[in-house]
């Protein structure tokens, strides 16, 4: 059990209903200080709704939320000084310059005078915005906007940062760079909650929760999740992979099968002791040139935890 002071987010039985649709359906969360916690799931799985309930933007239909020791949504206004939030779509002012945006947001968060100037210079240095400070935010590239959004989100040095699909509009290079900056923030004592539908991003998180249809299907460190996945991964090479896939899907012992280039990736239930032999014995795989067991990745975890793999 972790000490209470080291818990930044605690949610119990969280439900959010929009009319008859349960966007979030009984979510329990415990997020520890000093880590990047990821919500992984497909679009519409409720990760943004869950995050909005944690920041007080949405009122939960049922359940309780406590963030940084404050009860949400009751103390949402007090919480706003302590958290930073980066929206999914760019939400700063396109017709204001970088510097104007930063000044506006700094003042809104109560920074004034020399302190404001110092913080703005710090974040502009750190997120390489100094050369862009007179550029209109609306005329910047996706990566530049993302750096500006992160810079404004951390201006008031929040203890906890919420990032809603922060990298969906940027190139892979910017994405890598962005994640390095997140780890710098963690080193500085910030905790981060991030939503994503990218496997590689989820893999960088200290811990993740896999969400589907508003429910948590699995949570833990990506490594642990892979180890405890409940399926072994075997890859098949050879001709007629599409045929093999069609025959394997739905067969006993097979969780899922998906083609990756020239290989077919098959998830076999752990109950089957020797998955390679099990597959080789099946008539469909006669023409296969290679059948080998490989290390599982997060996508395999995702597949076993959600959708067809779960049934």
């Amino acid at each position: 059990m972790v000490a209470d002071t080291d818990i930044v987010v605690r949610a119990e039985g969280l439900v959010k209903k929009f009319k008859d649709f349960r966007a979030v359906d009984g979510l329990d969360l415990t997020i520890e200080r000093g880590m990047i916690y990821g919500f992984l799931g497909p679009n519409g799985c409720g990760k943004t709704t869950a995050m909005r309930m944690l920041t007080g933007l949405l009122t939960p239909t049922e359940g309780s939320v406590e963030v940084l020791g404050l009860s949400v949504p009751k103390d949402a206004e007090a919480l706003k000084y302590k958290i930073g939030y980066m929206t999914q779509a760019f939400s700063l002012y396109g017709d204001l310059t970088v510097l104007e945006n930063l000044r506006f947001m700094a003042t809104i968060y109560g920074l004034t005078g020399a302190r404001r100037k110092q913080r703005i210079n710090e974040v502009m240095d750190r997120y390489e915005l100094s050369d862009l400070k007179n550029r209109f935010a609306g005329r910047m590239s996706g990566g530049q906007r993302q750096r500006l959004a992160l810079a404004t989100a951390v201006l008031h040095e929040p203890q906890l940062l919420f990032l809603d699909e922060p990298t969906s509009a940027v190139d892979p290079e910017s994405r890598r760079h962005f994640w390095e900056q997140l780890f710098d923030l963690i080193e500085g004592g910030t905790s981060i909650v991030v939503t994503t539908h990218f496997m590689d991003e989820a893999e960088r998180c200290h811990k993740i929760a896999i969400l589907e249809a508003g429910q948590k299907r699995a949570d833990g460190a990506p490594k642990d999740l892979m180890a405890e996945m409940g399926a072994n991964v075997v890859e098949i090479e050879g001709p007629n992979l599409r045929d093999i896939r069609r025959h394997l899907l739905g067969a006993d012992g097979i969780v899922a099968a998906a083609q990756l280039g020239a290989r077919l990736r098959v998830l076999v239930e752990t109950g089957i002791a020797d998955p390679e032999a099990f597959l080789k014995a099946r008539p469909e795989t006669d023409g296969a040139t290679l059948i080998e067991r490989v290390r599982p990745n997060l996508e395999d975890v995702f597949v076993t935890a959600t959708g067809e793999g779960r049934q």
Binding site: L57, Y85, Y93, T107, I108, Y109
Partner: protein, 381 residues
């Protein structure tokens, strides 16, 4: 100090955005400028030179002189000469003329017996004396046109006999205060301040909140510690200055172009205008918290704008409206402002003289701001 500096931050943000929105910024100056010049010259309730047709069945020297005398009043201008009453009716129907002047065959006899001709009073037993000399057929759908022609009904005809018009003693003496020359612009220009302020103030603010929502800034904004009232106040302050600027343009230019007097109640005028700007802005803000898109905000603006203009007394006298319409008109800030600004500018009235309008306007402003701030939820659900 946080609320003040936050309001200042929102104020400067709005100012920067406004400054860069060339179109809007241009409208701020051009709307009062163009509308003042246009309406100042165009709107005139003294109707002149109404196009009329003449049907002269008499065809005498007398009938021609009578037509000239009627034309000399400048109320009407003869544009067509027709042969029959049917043709005249058709001309009115097809809007070529607004009225027709029918001169009967027995014009001379009628004139001779008419008391208006000033040929002495005929015997009272003569029934013919009660007959008018000629007839007007008028397109009565426009009451103002009809009224102008009706004013010709008892015009003196003594000029027909080269006699000076009768010097009659009026029943009442009428002294015209404030606008003795009866120039329409004197009444229109101060009223235009009310109309243009209503239009621009409500239009700008009604999109103020909804614009943040439409451009996607709202989600970030409600995630900050900003308070609704700070946001509302910060957003309206730039428009207060714009409203004052527009007032200066209209009244200044009205003074230059149309010699509209200013009066010396500058402070009262300033405070009254400020109150009206505040009331209009708060109304716009309330609408902005209701509208889901900028298009809806514009539609709501038009919805409020038309009754504001038509019921405010800007064009039609407030007293002429039925009681229910008067009550409705009282709701709109424009009605109260119309009374106020005409009072300050034309009648040299003070805030004290118009205290009821002042109190109502203050109440409207405070209530509007409260409703807008309460309606603005820092939640998405």
């Amino acid at each position: 100090m946080r609320p003040l500096s936050r309001i200042a931050a929102i104020f400067f943000k709005e100012l920067n955005q406004l400054r860069r929105d060339r179109m809007t910024f241009g409208m701020v100056i051009m709307i009062p400028l163009i509308q003042l010049v246009l309406f100042g010259y165009a709107i005139n309730t003294n109707v002149r030179d109404i196009p009329v047709a003449v049907v002269d069945h008499s065809q005498t020297g007398l009938s021609r002189v009578l037509i000239q005398i009627v034309e000399a009043t400048t109320v009407v201008e003869v544009t067509e000469r027709l042969n029959s009453i049917e043709e005249a009716e058709q001309a009115i129907k097809s809007a070529r003329v607004r009225a027709a002047f029918i001169l009967p065959e027995d014009l001379s006899q009628r004139v001779a017996r008419s008391p208006a001709a000033g040929l002495g009073t005929p015997a009272s037993t003569d029934e013919e004396t009660s007959r008018p000399v000629a007839q007007w057929i008028v397109d009565g759908s426009d009451t103002m046109i009809a009224g102008a022609i009706k004013s010709l009904r008892s015009m003196p005809l003594s000029e027909l006999n080269r006699q000076p018009p009768n010097r009659s003693t009026p029943t009442f003496e009428v002294a015209l205060f404030f606008n003795p020359e009866q120039r329409t612009a004197i009444n229109i220009v101060p009223g235009l301040v009310g109309i243009i302020l209503t239009m621009t103030m409500i239009m700008f603010t009604s999109s103020a909140i909804v614009r943040e929502r439409e451009r996607g800034n709202m989600e970030m904004l409600i995630n900050t510690p900003v308070r609704p009232m700070e946001l509302m106040i910060g957003k309206i302050i730039p428009y207060v200055f714009i409203g004052l600027l527009q007032t200066v343009i209209i009244l200044g230019l009205g003074h230059l172009l149309f010699s509209v007097p200013f009066g010396d109640k500058t402070l009262d005028l300033f405070i009254g205008t400020l109150l009206f700007i505040g009331a209009s802005l708060s109304l716009g803000l309330v609408m902005s918290t209701i509208a889901q898109s900028q298009l809806q905000a514009t539609q709501m603006t038009v919805f409020v704008l038309l009754p504001s203009i038509l019921l405010s007394g800007f064009m039609f006298p407030y007293e002429g409206m039925p009681l229910v319409a008067q009550y409705i008109a009282e709701v709109f800030p424009a009605t109260h402002f119309m009374r106020m600004i005409r009072g300050f500018v034309l009648r040299d009235a003070s805030l004290l003289d118009l205290h009821r309008d002042v109190i109502w306007m203050c109440g409207f402003f405070v209530l509007g701001m409260l409703v807008a701030a309460l309606r603005f939820k820092k939640r998405l659900d």
